[in-house]
């Protein structure tokens, strides 16, 4: 199993600092939820892990190598990504899109299609395998993107707000699927705005929540830590209320913090 480690990582875009000396380690089989206000640098962190952003200082290590030094296919075997948006302007079918995600494998197209069909089945998208991605709804498209990620069969999975713009039922499905993949032994780093959804993942005691603001790591806590509501409140600049539900603790923003 491989691990992902950000070592004192800084990323600059022109004069702006997007990430400011961030150190974070994702051990094999770990689940880390990454939260923070808009523009905190969450997506930049994921992109740095994929060598899509170049560090201005520090480094990103993947399986004991510098990520930018890895061969593209070797990197794709280690780490896969579900972006916030996928482009769907080319009228290719869902099945062909997912088959294309098998790029790193040396296999026949028929084998790619079989693996793609299995991945689509897993995310409950078999019924639109032959439909074009341009004709899918947002939720359907997200499932196809999820199937791409599964078909790539990488050890470490990065998610960028996987349930964004989805209805509640779809949100629950996506997070339950995340939990399944995690229990199969994969490591997961997931950007997420609504910590309450993390309950769907299961095994709450093993979840880690990391807060990022203005490019800096603010806290790194267990999901069931008593101090978490307050830490999240400070992170977003709101008063958080913790409500005990029948099975779980819900966190809700009550009002903006008085500064």
């Amino acid at each position: 199993m491989s691990e992902l480690e950000f070592v004192d990582l800084s990323v600059k875009l022109g004069q702006r600092t997007l990430l400011d000396h961030v150190s974070l380690r994702l051990a094999p089989g770990e689940f880390v939820a990454l939260i923070g206000p808009n523009g905190a640098g969450k997506t930049t962190l994921l992109k740095a892990a994929l060598a899509l952003r170049t560090p201005s200082s520090g480094s990103v290590r993947l399986a004991n190598a510098e990520v930018s030094a890895l061969d593209a296919k070797a990197r794709a075997a280690l780490i896969a990504w579900l972006p916030q948006h996928i482009r769907a302007e080319e009228p290719v079918t869902s099945l062909e899109s997912v088959a294309a995600a098998r790029y790193r494998f040396r296999e026949s197209h028929a084998d790619s299609r079989r693996a793609a069909a299995r991945a689509l089945d897993r995310v409950g998208a078999s019924q639109y395998a032959e439909r074009r991605v341009t004709e899918l709804s947002g939720g359907e498209r997200q499932r196809v993107a999820f199937a791409c990620l599964i078909a790539q069969e990488a050890d470490i999975l990065l998610f960028d707000e996987p349930a964004n713009h989805l209805d509640p039922a779809q949100q629950l499905d996506i997070y339950r699927l995340l939990g399944e993949l995690w229990r199969e032994g994969r490591s997961i780093l997931c950007i997420n705005h609504d910590v309450n959804l993390l309950h769907q993942v299961g095994d709450a005691a093993r979840l880690r929540v990391v807060g990022l603001r203005a490019g800096k790591l603010v806290f790194d806590a267990a999901f069931d830590a008593p101090a978490l509501p307050e830490q999240i409140g400070t992170l977003f600049g709101v008063e958080m209320e913790s409500v005990q539900g029948s099975e779980q603790r819900f966190l809700m923003p009550r009002s903006r913090s008085k500064s």
């Binding site: 899509l52 170049t54 593209a72 996928i86 482009r87 062909e96």
Partner: protein, 313 residues
């Protein structure tokens, strides 16, 4: 879908065969000569040019994730134009190693134009949209240069330049076919080998990168191979509009679904379309031949509008 593809291929083959026959009635040994020494090589040139322009158009649209991208967008055609104008301003009758100076200069110009853009594309941090902008910048700069050359040339050179810029299948005989074939064949065959990585591009460049595609290398390869093929075509025929733009969209609407279909079918349809347009050009004005570039533009523009309008419904 397989049946549909087969039908389209059959249609293409029939069009190609028909194009040899279409034209004024030909009989006797003279007719035989016209068919075998003039029309057949011309159809062969038309096939390679149409196939290459259409395939490169489809590849560039995939590569730049932009439905408007063609070989014109990355400086190839603009470079060829400057080269051709330069040669025409010097002296259009000169030859280099038995080849017309215009052809040689257009080829060199096309490669130079695309090389400028490609050098930019190979940078690790450049995004496809940046490459597209670089292509447009090179095109604008070269057209300024072209205007400059036109300004200082005499009226005979100007007329020749206008003729060249209309785009026309030349009467080159089998020697032209022999020169064009290896370049276009290498360009098309190797571009088709990139299908798998281009397919990963369909959902976005960054996602393709994360799936293991070496994006800068793919971009450089596709640009170099595409430019090589297009440069050879433009050198002989001048800029032939719309084939590279319309054919991929036509195929996408008809067969869609996958680059494994889109790329090879663009090749077939492009070949058939250009040869058919050239046959039309022989027929429209009796006794005179219209430049095929006018026909492709006249047919291509409304076709594109029709396709877009239908697609929106």
């Amino acid at each position: 879908m397989k049946l549909r593809s087969a039908l389209v291929i059959l249609g293409c083959v029939l069009l190609l065969l028909a194009a040899v026959v279409v034209g004024p009635q030909l009989e006797g040994p003279q007719g035989q000569f016209i068919i075998w020494q003039l029309r057949v090589p011309r159809v062969l040139v038309g096939m390679w040019v149409g196939a290459t322009l259409a395939l490169v158009g489809a590849v560039f649209q995939a590569l730049f994730q932009n439905p408007l991208a063609t070989s014109d967008t990355v400086g190839t055609t603009a470079g060829a134009t400057v080269g051709a104008l330069f040669a025409l301003a010097l002296d259009s009758s000169r030859t280099v190693q038995g080849l017309p100076l215009v052809t040689v200069c257009a080829f060199v110009g096309a490669l130079a134009g695309s090389l400028l853009v490609a050098s930019f594309a190979s940078s690790r941090t450049a995004h496809s949209s940046d490459v597209l902008l670089a292509g447009i910048a090179v095109t604008l700069a070269t057209s300024a240069l072209a205007s400059g050359i036109q300004y200082i040339s005499d009226s005979r050179a100007l007329f020749a330049a206008t003729q060249w810029s209309l785009g026309q299948l030349p009467q080159v005989g089998y020697r032209g076919v022999l020169l064009l074939t290896p370049l276009c064949a290498v360009s098309c065959a190797l571009l088709l080998l990139l299908t798998r990585s281009l397919q990963a591009f369909a959902l976005g460049e960054d996602l393709a990168h994360s799936q293991g595609v070496n994006v800068p290398r793919l971009r450089l390869l596709a640009l170099a191979l595409g430019s090589l093929g297009v440069a050879s075509c433009v050198a002989w025929c001048g800029p032939i509009a719309f084939v590279g733009l319309v054919v991929p969209h036509l195929v996408r609407r008809l067969l869609g679904a996958s680059y494994r279909v889109l790329l090879p079918m663009s090749l077939c349809v492009g070949a058939a379309l250009l040869v058919t347009c050239d046959a039309f050009a022989r027929l429209i004005v009796p006794g005179r031949e219209l430049p095929v570039g006018i026909v492709t533009a006249a047919l291509g523009a409304p076709t594109l509008v029709f396709l877009v309008a239908r697609g929106r419904r």
